[in-house]
């Protein structure tokens, strides 16, 4: 009788332990599902060209960056060296954009089309470069036979909260860690896209641990 009671007690203890452990495991799984990853993909379309794919968990980047002490990066912040900015005060510019209302701030049309705008909580930067490569080939009758145009496109889309976080550091500093925190809270976003005839660059953030 005593043996059967002890056996039942042991069984109950095991069942309790399993019951207590199961939700923890489920929580851990659901937690890992919400982890945000930064993806970088660089693809060269040239023959034998290079392909680079980087996938980094935001949480890990947030912890590793402050551990790197190498100028200009320290404590997860980048020091802006004004001497190398061609007299452009980047911080003041970003601060001005942050505090202004939605609208289109810069529009340049020419060989390069540039558009900088703020809309619905996002900062947009679009640059399109049109390169017309007219070949000096001739068909013998004085007509040009071949002309090639190359288009380079740069699209940057950054949530304004990330800009705010970036500027939360002291003067002449950008807080990369704070910006990553803000990014991770923002959900899936395509940050940078660069396309030209030879290369494609994409930087985006999502909850997948592989770049598809």
């Amino acid at each position: 009788m005593n043996h059967s009671i002890r056996g039942l007690g042991l069984l109950a203890s095991v069942a309790l332990a399993v019951t207590l452990l199961l939700p923890v495991r489920d929580f851990a799984q659901s937690n890992s599902k919400t982890d945000q990853w930064i993806h970088v993909r660089v693809e060269s379309k040239e023959e034998g060209g290079e392909t680079v794919r980087v996938n980094v968990p935001v949480e890990m980047a947030v912890k590793v960056l402050p551990a790197i002490k190498h100028a200009p990066l320290h404590d997860g912040k980048v020091r802006i060296d004004c001497g190398h900015m061609d007299d452009v005060d980047l911080r003041t510019m970003l601060d001005a954009v942050r505090s202004s209302k939605d609208g289109e701030f810069v529009t340049v049309q020419g060989k390069e089309d540039v558009r900088i705008a703020k809309s619905a909580g996002y900062l947009y930067i679009h640059v399109t470069e049109n390169n017309h490569h007219a070949r000096a080939a001739n068909d013998g009758k004085g007509n040009e036979t071949h002309a090639r145009s190359a288009v380079s496109k740069v699209d940057v889309k950054v949530p304004m909260k990330v800009v705010d976080a970036l500027l939360s550091a002291g003067k002449d500093e950008l807080d990369i860690v704070a910006a990553l925190h803000a990014l991770s809270l923002h959900g899936d976003t395509e940050l940078v896209s660069v396309k030209d005839d030879d290369n494609t660059v994409r930087i985006w953030i999502d909850s997948k641990n592989v770049s598809d």
Binding site: E50, T51, V52, R53, P57, E59, M60, A67, V210
Partner: protein, 145 residues
Amino acid sequence: MLFIAKAAIGAGATLALVGAWVFHEGIIRVDVDEARSGGSHVHFWVPATTVSTGLRLAPRRYVRQAADKSRDYLPVLREISKGLQKYPNAELLDVRDASNHVHVSVKGGQLYLDAVSDDENIHISCPTVTLEHVADRLEDAAPGV
């Protein structure tokens, strides 16, 4: 006869326990093949526990020397090794061109570094928990990091 049987069972159980303990952390594997003539071919694997335990048993001054030399990188190693344990399966880096391929990934808690080129093939794998043990041990030997 009964005594011998009991001793055999005891020895077998001890061996099984020791084996389980030695391999519980995983295996460190290194494969290096150079394609050139006379190139080196290095292939070995060791239980990761031997590295963790070896660092504890190694003379303190040697561990301290190693810690001093790697002082600048210890905080980064510590954070990366701790961070990687949260992601047991992940593709971290993939770089390839016509003749080279570098791949860094984590599978089942094991960090894999693969570098394949026309000249040489390098495959290294190490449990992420071992990296953390190494970082912790070196940090203990180099306080203030």
